[in-house]
């Protein structure tokens, strides 16, 4: 695209930048390396180890075998998948529609509605009224819908998407309107396709949010066959915490093997890690101009 000769200063900058990025890669990769190596280690040897870990201590797959023996894990996968796909789809639909309306100029009530919406980011009635609403009145308790519907819109994401929609040229929309297109057509055929970078970010944010969420599952679900993966993971992680052990009367609960803990993290994290590179292809420059040029 840019066919310019690089100046000396720019070359130095490029070199320094690459070095800095490599540094970032190394320090941010470490937690992941640590988890992988711990999960492949022998629990006993891990016990006496401190400090950095760059290679497994006594390589073994034992931990993964034990993790997959846990019936809650496989069921958890399925539940999580349902919630991620269903939840994200609903999130996207509602967020796109809301962001579109709120980003349109000249809608007289839009600023007020925005204030009303932003207000909810700060004030909430707390856990119990929400629970009563979902459980006693809507009768969604103890079903996966309780994990999807009450979190149908994230205000944060709505604001980001609205900001992004609002930055599209007005002329695009107005000319479509003059061509006779109504708002649904404009949203789905023009605005969304033009906003693929940010839409893919939304998919990522919402998807990851659903994938990682456990709190709602924890409060609404009373049957273990509905538990999503993260709740199962949390159960395993939390059992090694002293606080939990103290809470158990006799305080002598066996802790989970260290390597099992890490293997569970791997099993619960790996799938979502593959989503990002897939989303990334929308981050390539020129998405927008490509469409306009058409």
């Amino acid at each position: 695209m840019h066919v310019i000769r690089k100046s000396k200063g720019e070359r130095i900058f490029q070199g320094a930048n690459t070095a800095f990025m490599l540094f970032m890669v190394v320090i941010t990769l470490y937690p992941f390396v640590y988890v992988v190596m711990s999960s492949l280690s022998d629990s006993r040897q891990l016990l006496s180890h401190t400090g950095t870990l760059l290679w497994p201590k006594g390589f073994t797959w034992e931990a993964y075998k034990l993790v997959f023996q846990n019936p809650n894990i496989t069921r958890g996968y399925l539940n999580t998948l349902i919630v991620v796909v269903g939840g994200t789809s609903l999130n996207l639909l509602l967020t796109c529609m809301g962001a579109y309306v709120l980003s349109r100029r000249g809608v007289p009530w839009a600023p007020k509605l925005m204030l009303i919406i932003v207000f909810t980011m700060f004030f909430s009635g707390g856990l119990i009224p929400m629970y009563l609403l979902v459980n006693n009145w809507l009768h969604l308790g103890n079903s996966l819908l309780a994990l999807i519907i009450p979190s149908a819109i994230s205000t944060w994401n709505l604001i980001i998407l609205r900001t992004s929609f609002g930055a599209l040229p007005d002329s695009l929309i107005e000319s479509a309107r003059i061509d006779g297109a109504h708002d649904f057509t404009i949203l789905f055929r023009i605005v969304i396709p033009l906003s693929m970078p940010v839409i893919s970010v939304m998919i990522l944010f919402y998807g990851v949010q659903h994938w990682n969420s456990w709190f709602q599952a924890m409060i609404y679900l009373r049957e273990r066959h509905l538990f999503p993966l993260q709740l199962v993971l949390r159960e395993i992680l939390i059992q090694n915490s002293t606080e939990y052990m103290m809470a158990q009367g006799d305080a002598d609960v066996e802790s989970v093997g260290e390597s099992i803990k890490y293997a569970t993290i791997m099993v619960a994290t790996l799938p979502i890690l593959f989503v990002y590179p897939f989303m990334q292809k929308y981050f390539v420059k020129g998405v927008m101009i490509g469409s306009i040029k058409g």
Binding site: M1, M24, Y30, F123, L237, I265
Partner: protein, 344 residues
């Protein structure tokens, strides 16, 4: 459909991407005679006319409004419990009123000022260092030419976001322990050997630096998306005008992502009294309370006491929310004055 992009040296000021959220001056930019009916008197009439014209907009917003009414405003009555002594079985309406008792008991607390100070200071540091980090990082990533390396860096740096906080904090604890990697480094640079987390003066630094480490990659995603949405013609125009990479970043890229920066900044401002307590609880100890104890951790510890402190926690939460909301409104107003863009 193309607009005149090249209008002299101030090309960035007029590009279509500059249409910030709520461009007051630009309201009528499209040249359509509508959207002025904000006077209360003509409100109903305007609304009726507006409905006719934008029927589909109303259909679209309906489920959104329903959602907010039902799930966000519906449970709001629960906030009254801050003014009552909550008793489980009597419920929200039956529990006895106690007025501002819980608020006063919080303000009267021996630790109130320390908690306020710690919460605000920690947030101020986060705002100063942790907020700009992903922006700078996104700009730097954007400068990487080779796209494979670029993708690799992006993919790797967002990994810490996915590792459980318990594990992350376990690692931080190890790094800054008496014999930890980071401690070794600092000792080599001439510091006395000690467990850094045991010293109150290091707590904020550890918290902020590790926050950057955890979130810089993930936080940059949104900025990268915004950068990739910038019209390439702007760069072409800049290049033709002889702007070097640095000038392009300052004059094209940064203004291009400014709307999103401002919005996130405003939201961050509305969060100054709030700080996630999980990470602090995993990192602090009584010796570092003096710098590390914040409002939420104090309330959390109180909740472990002998009674069910629901009313107290709600009262403190309400106090935080009111202050935060005021800060947000101020930030929004300020931003509207200075940058011509705002949340509403």
């Amino acid at each position: 459909m193309r607009r005149g992009l090249r209008a002299g040296p101030d090309y960035t000021a007029r590009g279509p991407k500059q249409g910030l959220l709520r461009r007051r001056a630009g309201r009528a930019a499209a040249g359509l005679a509508r959207g002025k009916g904000e006077q209360e008197g003509a409100a109903m009439k305007t609304l009726a006319r507006d409905y006719k014209r934008h029927k589909y907009l109303y259909f679209m917003i309906l489920p959104v409004v329903l959602y907010y009414a039902l799930f966000q405003y519906g449970p709001l009555y629960g906030a009254i419990i801050a003014f009552k002594d909550y008793r489980i079985a009597e419920g929200f309406l039956g529990s006895p009123w106690v007025g501002f008792k819980h608020f006063l008991s919080f303000f009267d607390s021996y630790y109130f000022w320390r908690l306020m100070k710690n919460t605000l200071l920690l947030n101020a540091y986060l705002l100063l260092f942790s907020f700009p980090a992903p922006i700078i990082f996104a700009l730097l990533i954007n400068e990487i030419g080779r796209s494979l390396f670029k993708r690799f860096v992006q993919t790797v740096t967002y990994l810490p976001h996915f590792i459980s906080l318990i594990v992350i904090c376990g690692m931080i604890t190890q790094f800054v322990a008496r014999d930890g990697m980071i401690t070794d480094l600092l000792v080599w640079m001439g510091m006395d050997r000690t467990a850094l987390l045991g010293q109150p003066e290091y707590f904020r630094t550890i918290y902020v630096v590790s926050d950057i480490w955890q979130s810089v990659g993930w936080g940059s995603i949104i900025y990268l998306a915004a950068i990739s949405g910038i019209n390439p013609e702007l760069y072409e125009a800049a290049t033709i005008d002889g702007a070097n990479k640095w000038r392009q970043t300052i004059n094209v890229t940064l203004p291009g992502i400014l709307p999103i920066i401002i919005i996130l900044f405003i939201l961050k401002m509305g969060n100054m009294l709030e700080i996630g307590f999980e990470k602090i609880i995993l990192l602090y100890n009584p010796n570092t309370y003096v710098t590390a104890d914040v409002i939420n951790t104090f309330v959390y510890r109180k909740g472990l006491g002998e009674s069910f402190e629901f009313s107290y926690a709600t009262a403190v939460g309400l106090f935080q929310a009111v202050i935060n909301f005021i800060l947000l409104i101020l930030a929004n107003r300020f931003s509207r004055k200075v940058s011509d863009s705002s949340l509403w």
